[in-house]
């Protein structure tokens, strides 16, 4: 539940919002908890908020791990969002 998901920032919206992309899906998140985010940055996203910036390499590794966890959880019947 404490897992934050890395995502790339696609565009910045007012007030203090951003459109991010995770696995081909675009979502709007709040930037209230982070400073100085620009388009193209990677952020850690948790519960609809960017909680920190992260470098691209770290983002990619975490995304690979998450894809596999999601597959295994689905097989085992866990269908919660978190």
């Amino acid at each position: 539940m404490c897992l934050a998901i890395p995502a790339i920032v696609i565009e910045l919206d007012e007030p203090n919002l951003a459109v991010i992309e995770i696995g081909g899906v675009r979502k709007q998140v709040s930037l209230m908890l982070v400073d100085d985010v620009a388009v193209g940055d990677y952020v850690l996203v948790h519960a609809g908020f960017a909680i920190d910036k992260v470098d691209e390499g770290e983002a990619q590794k975490t995304m690979d791990l998450l894809q596999e966890l999601a597959r295994l959880e689905q097989e085992a019947g866990f269908n919660e969002i978190h």
Binding site: M1, C2, L33
Partner: protein, 372 residues
């Protein structure tokens, strides 16, 4: 029943395993992060480690440590006329004293699963005739998001949005655990994303006051093996706090998120399910935001009862492994959880079950018919 279908340990990890073996050292290490629990089980790491090295799972899943009485309160609030209770999906099946949110919902309570507390706020804006109550559960990773949503509710003037705050703080729980007389752990593997918020300095007391070795680490197998290697070396050289996950965790954490969190919440004592009440380990809504506090509602709660036979509390303290519980894999499964450690996919028992860490069906527990 599921078995690991491939060998998941890359070459870099095998090299680390060789280094760990070469130390010829022993140790029992506790991780306190549901995602670490999952990552260790996923990699099938425990059997690959030298026989003297044991990994145990502490109270790292906020869903699992939410007290029965808090679940009961959430259910009672959800049954009030005009209320829409919003929650993260993991909380739906968690058993309270008599009921779960899922069964309350089946009987007519308006309970909605959301991904973000901001979705709850949107529901409140769309349905001004309803009172929307968000069930706030989570560690320091989640609490700033809930606090931020409350600030946003105030900014937008939305007055039908409230929060039940059952958030928990990790460092006070670690302080309580290391203070237990029978706590027999040689080091902590500390969580990555909680630490993004609170910073590694929040754990400085562990090596200083308790001589407890600590490593903050990430979620890769190699991250966890690096942490084990460093903890074993500290066993010889003396306890300290190291950050293996420095690429994401700063000593001071995220000051902006901490500021938002402390603007709305203040520390309070909190009951941890299966454990006990831990001083200063919860987050209460500050007086200034009392109008958004659903914890003050008068509700009727069921008489608390002790569950018979469920051993989640001992599992959370590292005293026993999931397969030592008579319910594990028999009466208690992810589809029909008896105890909280089986409910969330990041719970210790669910993680062991998902990746089948026991050797076979005979070690899965016999499903003894002991009433809850």
């Amino acid at each position: 029943m599921r078995y690991i279908d491939e060998f998941r340990v890359p070459a870099a990890a095998r090299e680390l395993l060789r280094e760990i073996d070469a130390l010829d050292a022993r140790g029992t290490f506790m991780e306190v992060c549901g995602t670490h629990t999952m990552a260790i089980s996923r990699a099938g790491l425990r059997p690959l480690l030298a026989p003297g090295i044991d990994l145990i799972s502490g109270p790292g899943c906020p869903v699992c440590v939410t007290a029965d009485a808090d679940i009961d309160r959430a259910i009672a609030v959800s049954k009030k006329p005009g209320v829409i209770l919003t929650t993260f999906g993991d909380m739906m099946k968690v058993p309270g004293t008599e009921d779960s949110l899922a069964s309350a919902s089946a009987r007519g309570a308006r309970v909605r699963v959301v991904y973000s507390p901001l979705e709850s706020l949107a529901i409140a804006a769309e349905e001004p005739g309803s009172q929307v109550v968000f069930l706030g559960v989570g560690f320091e990773t989640t609490a700033p998001a809930v606090a931020g949503t409350m600030l946003e509710a105030r900014r937008q003037g939305i007055d039908n949005f409230q929060v039940l705050s059952f958030h928990k703080l990790v460092p006070p729980a670690l302080r309580a655990l290391v203070g237990l007389d029978d706590f027999d752990v040689d080091g902590f593997i500390l969580p990555g994303h909680v630490s993004v918020i609170i910073g590694s300095d929040a754990y400085a007391f562990l090596p200083v006051e308790f001589s407890m070795p600590c490593v903050v680490t990430g979620f890769e197998v190699t991250d966890i093996l690096q942490a084990i290697l460093r903890l074993l070396k500290m066993g010889a050289s003396g306890a300290s706090l190291e950050v293996e996950y420095a690429r994401a965790v700063r000593p001071e954490g995220n000051p902006r998120a901490l500021e938002v969190m402390s603007q709305v919440f203040e520390p309070c004592d909190a009951q941890w399910r299966g454990l006990f009440t831990i001083p200063g380990s919860g987050l209460a809504i500050r007086e200034e935001f009392a109008a958004m506090d659903a914890g003050t509602w008068e509700v009727e709660l069921p008489e608390p009862t002790r569950s018979k036979g469920c051993r989640c509390g001992e599992i959370l303290c590292g005293r026993i492994k999931p397969m030592d519980c008579p319910f594990f894999g028999g009466r208690c499964t992810p589809d029909n959880p008896v105890g909280p450690c089986m409910v969330s996919s990041e719970g210790t028992c669910a993680s062991y079950y998902l990746y089948s860490e026991s050797e076979g069906p005979d070690e899965r527990g016999e499903g003894a018919d002991i009433g809850r």
